[in-house]
Amino acid sequence: MERTACRVIDYTKIVKEERGMNDRIKKLRRQSIEALERISPERAKLLTDFYKNSKESLIPIKRAKAFEYILMNKRISIYDGELIVGERGEEQKATPTYPEITLHRRKDLEALNNRQKVRYSVSQDVFDVYEKEIIPFWEGKTVREMIFKEVPQRWKDAFEAGVFTEFMEQRAPGHTVLDGKIYKKGMLDFIKEINSEIEKLDFEHDSEAFDKKEELEAMKITANALIKFANRYAKLAKEMASKERDSKRKKELLKISEICSWVPAHAPRTFHEALQYYWFVHIGVITELNGWDAFSPGKLDKHLFPFYKKDIEEGRLTKDGAKELLECLWIKFHNHPAPPKVGVTAEESSTYTDFAQINIGGIKEDGTDNVNELSYLLLDVVEEMRLVQPNASIHVSKKNPDKFIKRALEIIKTGFGQPSVFNSDAVVMELLRQGKTLEDARCGGTSGCVESGAFGKENYTLTGYFNIPKILEITLFNGKDPLTGKQIGLKTGIFEDFETFDEFMEAFKKQLKYFIDIKIEGNLIIERIYAKHMPAPFLSILIDDCIKKGKDYYSGGARYNSSYIQGVGTGTITDSLSAIKQTVFEEKRIGKKELLDMLSKNFEGYELKRQFLINKTHKYGNDDDYADSLMKEVFEEFFKNIDGRPTYKGGQFRINMLPTTVHVYFGSKIGATPDGRKAFEPISEGISPVQGMDRKGPTAVLKSAAKMDHIKTGGTLLNLKFTPDLLKDEKGLNAVVKLIRTYFKLDGHHIQFNVVSADTLRDAKKHPEKYGDLIVRVAGYSDYFCHLNEKLQDEIIKRTEHESF
């Protein structure tokens, strides 16, 4: 199969521009970039073999033993020069599928193999394994099939109409991040804790004691499995060392062997052990299930600093040595593309990146400045590695120095979209509002795109995107989806009959609530399916208080449990409501019937009116209260209908405002909108204004965005595109520092900068061969520009360039 031109040249260019601090890193990085993303049948095959032969009837134990079986039987290797070892697949970028969740049938594999962008190659023998062994066994048994069997028709109608998406139909709930516990405890320590909880079980008085025992036993199996898995590497390294002629490499291999026989069984003693331990844990989590957003180590600078300091003081490590190990870890992340998605889910999140996020800076549990020497070293690594994953973010608290922000801006300026910038103080307030303790809140940060969570203590699950502008369309057409003619919503009234804008808003709010209820109903069904059928005992070891409660991560074992619904289309919904209010109800420039007619006809014959709607109505993103107050009203309504509602696992539903790339898919499901947007065009992304509608510069955008109460969310996403010249001198840098500081003072959650000129992007679209390594910020993550589909490319080009005045 031919690869896309863009990708091939991408390689040659990157090979030419080798990056890395030394030959070892350059080589490993090049190998990682050159490795082909491909489907690995190994996990699916081992899992199928296990399930065929296992007589185990207790679900958690069966899941644990399956985990053990995979880790004990998968192929392992150590590549030349590697210092950190361990792969999920049988080699770099060999990506497994998870047939217990989603079964990839022949047509899905073909689609992965044939698609132009974000392709996963599938070889003939892989097709054969799936057709002969995997598909026949899993057909009818997957979580995905269970979900579609259980959800009601109204849910399916809304889902098909593009009102919302559902994360868990193809990937397990994940979105969680590790805290500092593995740096203090080995798996043997966790096993001790598990044993002591088993001993404490009261089978005579606690009706759940048997369930707890099963779960705890399952956790124990997985903890032991990870130790054994590491021992396989220890053995392999030793064998390789005995055959190695190069004395330097021989020493390294012996060291790897020693490290792998110490961690994860025991708590790490050195910087190197700490990194290797994390990496084994990472492999464990992403092998157990295909949770969204892989897994993340969280605040690496905080966790690793004590090891770094001690090793340097005791002469075991140099600054360069630490950097080399970190770069090795970076390459490991890069070796692991996201598990392949299919259908709508592939469209909404079309990328190889698996959203592992490294948090740098911010504050410590005691509220003090967490920026240390290692924070700057991590930024050096980000700059030098220039890889799409892991995704690095800086966390800015009022307690952090400007110097830290400026260092990050120097990297942002190079136009590769990393690091993104978060408001550490707002994250703490968000988590406190949700009822977390101060220490747990301060221990939190962000993962995935922009999602806040209490690291190591929370199951925070993103459940799906919610298409707010679609609700407006359904309201305008009295509950009908004009694209299909199907009555999917409530009959809230014929548009021509509304006498005031407020009456119309009431109808909109009724529809909004109706569809939120449907979404939540589906979520409850899905959470129950995961809790009953798909426990994750290994992940449960890592998140407090699963061991203490004897409960699985998916059944409410975590200390905090939050299920998020992501609101999408802030700009489009605001501008559309604003246009209706102004032109239809106030100025009466456009008749009600006329509005519906122009929307139905996609503005054909109405170009003048469309121009008026685009150019002469109040728009979000300009610090204009007329529009911004409508944004607030919609936001508050979305919040009110979701926040605090109970989830299946004993937690609460929450909101956040981010799109990944779903605004393109959602746009394709909506006809023309009253803001002048033509049918099927993308809607606005994140909480950014409609592309090109912010006309008063970045401060006005930030002021508009900050009118949303970010503290009531678990994350918002704001994109600002800058041309490089805006950051070229000290004055420019200082001004951007001020933008960040002020936005954060106003409680803004996150801001990301795309630093590139529109002309460059246009040229890149025309000549992908010239821009193979052009990385842009998409939405909460970065990707290669030439991997994006044309619509996304256009949209990134269109996003306003804020020129210096």
């Binding site: 150019n615 002020t742 804020h802």
Partner: protein, 299 residues
């Protein structure tokens, strides 16, 4: 009392220290041929025509009550004699091809508008009042200055200096820093290119300096008009004798505003002049620095 403003720019980092909001007053006693904002000169509203945005829907023509709008070849033509600037055409133009330049504000209203970004100003940023010549709307300016002073924001006044000395000095209690233009040291040449002589401008500058206010000199560098050795030397000499000069900001000439002249149907007379070379800018910078002055390029 109302003041006429032609623009408000936020996130302005080249009009004084820090991050600022700049408000541009309409009306100027000078008519510099290189003026970057030709719409700043007239003391009344004006209509600007962006031909590239025009889709010839002729909505303007149909809403004009004075029949002042006609079509000439491939563009809209407004008869300035009959047009009463009522604004119907600009309000209804669906693509903003016709733009009304100039908006009247009450002092309070303008204060609220320019303070929208106050959270961003920090310790060094603030408001810059520019023009045109702000002092041409003296009473309005004084009202605005008083209101802004109450809000304790940093105020920069960007002035041509061509004004009554008393008026200029009465802004002293309010203004934190003056951005003061020097265009040419030779009065005759000054008059040739700006329409006025420079005596008053220079004497006002001396007076302002004597009162101890902070001043940044703004020097537009225009090839073949004021970039000759003699003028640079004279300017530097003059400025170096003052006591309170923070910096000299060299503003290299560019012709990106040529379009605006066309849109206002004003003649643009500097077609033959290009922008100064980087080398030349650096050279001029050095010349000023030789007199012990701190020099910025681009403000």
């Amino acid at each position: 009392m109302k003041g006429l403003v032609f623009d408000i720019k936020r996130y302005s980092i080249h009009d004084g220290p820090g991050l600022r909001t700049t408000v541009f007053f309409k009306g100027c006693p000078l008519k510099c041929l290189w003026c970057h904002n030709p719409e700043s000169q007239k003391s009344t509203k004006e209509i600007m025509y962006h031909a590239e945005e025009c889709i010839f829907c002729l909505t303007c023509k149909s809403v004009c009550t004075k029949s002042a709008i006609g079509v000439e070849k491939d563009r809209i033509k407004i008869d300035l004699k009959t047009c009463d600037l009522c604004g119907e055409c600009t309000t209804n133009c669906p693509t903003n091809a016709l733009e009304m330049v100039g908006k009247f504000y009450e002092p309070e209203e303008l204060k609220d508008e320019v303070l929208k970004d106050r959270d961003f100003f920090g310790n060094d940023g603030g408001i810059t009042i520019s023009g045109g010549e702000p002092l041409m709307q003296f009473d309005f300016l004084m009202k605005l200055l008083a209101l802004l002073k109450e809000e304790q924001v940093n105020i920069a006044l960007d002035t041509t200096g061509f004004t009554d000395t008393d008026k200029l000095l009465s802004t002293l209690p309010y203004v934190d820093i003056y951005l003061y233009d020097i265009k040419h040291m030779d009065s005759k040449i000054h008059k040739k290119y700006t329409g006025v002589e420079n005596d008053k401008i220079l004497s006002n500058l001396i007076e302002l300096d004597r009162n101890g206010s902070r001043i940044s000199i703004r020097f537009p560098l225009i090839p073949s008009i004021n970039d000759d050795e003699e003028n640079i030397k004279k300017t530097a000499e003059f400025v170096s004798k003052l006591n309170n000069i923070e910096s000299v900001d060299i503003l290299p000439y560019h012709s990106m505003m040529e379009d605006k002249y066309r849109k206002l149907e004003k003649p643009f007379l500097l077609k033959h002049i290009g922008k100064p070379t980087k080398k030349r800018i650096e050279y001029v910078k050095k010349q000023f620095e030789q007199f012990g002055l701190k020099v910025n390029i681009g403000g």
